[in-house]
Symmetry: C2
Subunit: 217 residues, 2 copies
């Protein structure tokens, strides 16, 4: 496990007992999250957009249409923040004040670079598919040259990031323990239900285990 | 249902078939989402922070420690963006290019105002608790005056927002229909598992149905 010192910008300022600066902890959250939220500013107005992402080593990849305003803005080299949040549960305390959520989140700061090398672009698109569903890439029709040209890919170095993690029970003060209400954790998780075949699916093709037994962790 | 014209800043630019400008659609997404992502900039660097939120009518409330940098920054009147995203499923297509996610998201733009009236502050804290778990407020010990002073609450008018929704099957071109792989939707949802009682829970207190049968929608 690599522990790196936070920068002044990624040092967790509140609830410092929840801070995690280990690279492995950050990467595990990035890898589990299916969506991220990308923050950038245009004319002083911040925008936060949901996106899919994938990690290859120390690089985070985002993609979109070559015509996307977000991708064009990121590729122009503006400062960006990408945040992933996994919600693990409600923390139901006896006092209103001590209610909380259990969660794991990562904040990545940096500047994106447009990926122009077709091989790296293809590797990123593969990673994006594999991130959502491991093993999927080998089954699908890969992008054509034209599709690659219509797709923008950017990467961001995972060099400045920090995580914040809350887990465990409510932290009520002793004086609140007699409050006559249930207290504890209500675990939450993202779960898959039964796959819904496309109406045009070729007869006889069954969903593989990776889909029917899909789990995020 | 109220449909309001988007502003130049909230008009959806890409995938316009997914755009929704109905207030009811936006509010339903805000109300279902347990967390939001708050974007603001400090010295030109955007930050995106996960937070909990609650809606009362046309106002969105956020809260945190009075010492929180995010809350202090928001209260100073900077432009802010708050985004909620609900992930509804993986869209597994036959071509890499047509893979997607089913989701519902809302982007809210505006400027926050600090809530200083203790009654409005209390109403917001109640709404925040009820947003996570309806019916919870009446069971818990309400905030003391001191706790209220230690808590910062800000509100943001829900006047400039838009939603984006993708649902349904993959949209492969006819030429890809013969690709020999499974295609369809894998529905995803946030689910609760069995509540975990706090080790200090008073004997004999059972979790109510609102907790044991917790569902987000």
């Amino acid at each position: 496990m690599t522990t790196s010192a936070p920068t002044e910008r990624t040092r967790v300022r509140r609830r410092t007992e929840r801070a995690r600066y280990d690279r492995d902890v950050c990467c595990a959250i990035i890898d589990e999250a299916l969506v991220c939220h990308v923050g950038f500013a245009i004319d002083g107005q911040p925008y936060v957009m949901p996106a899919t992402h994938a990690r290859i080593g120390d690089q985070l990849y985002l993609h979109g249409s070559a015509a996307s305003r977000m991708l064009r803005t990121l590729a122009s080299g503006v400062p960006v923040c990408v945040t992933m949040t996994l919600l693990d549960g409600l923390v139901l305390a006896r006092a209103a004040r001590t209610h909380s959520m259990n969660y794991r989140s990562v904040v990545v700061l940096g500047t994106a670079i447009e990926v122009v090398d077709p091989q790296e672009q293809m590797a990123a698109l593969k990673a994006l598919i594999e991130h959502a569903l491991p093993g999927r890439w080998r089954d699908v029709r890969p992008p054509t040259d034209r599709e690659l040209r219509e797709t923008a890919v950017v990467r961001l170095a995972l060099s400045e990031m920090s995580a914040k993690v809350r887990s465990g029970p409510p932290m009520d003060g002793d004086g609140d323990l007699t409050q006559p209400c249930w207290a504890g954790e209500l675990p939450l998780q993202l779960t898959a239900s039964s796959p819904m075949p496309d109406a045009r699916l070729t007869a006889g093709i069954e969903a593989p285990d990776s889909i029917t037994r899909y789990r995020r962790r």
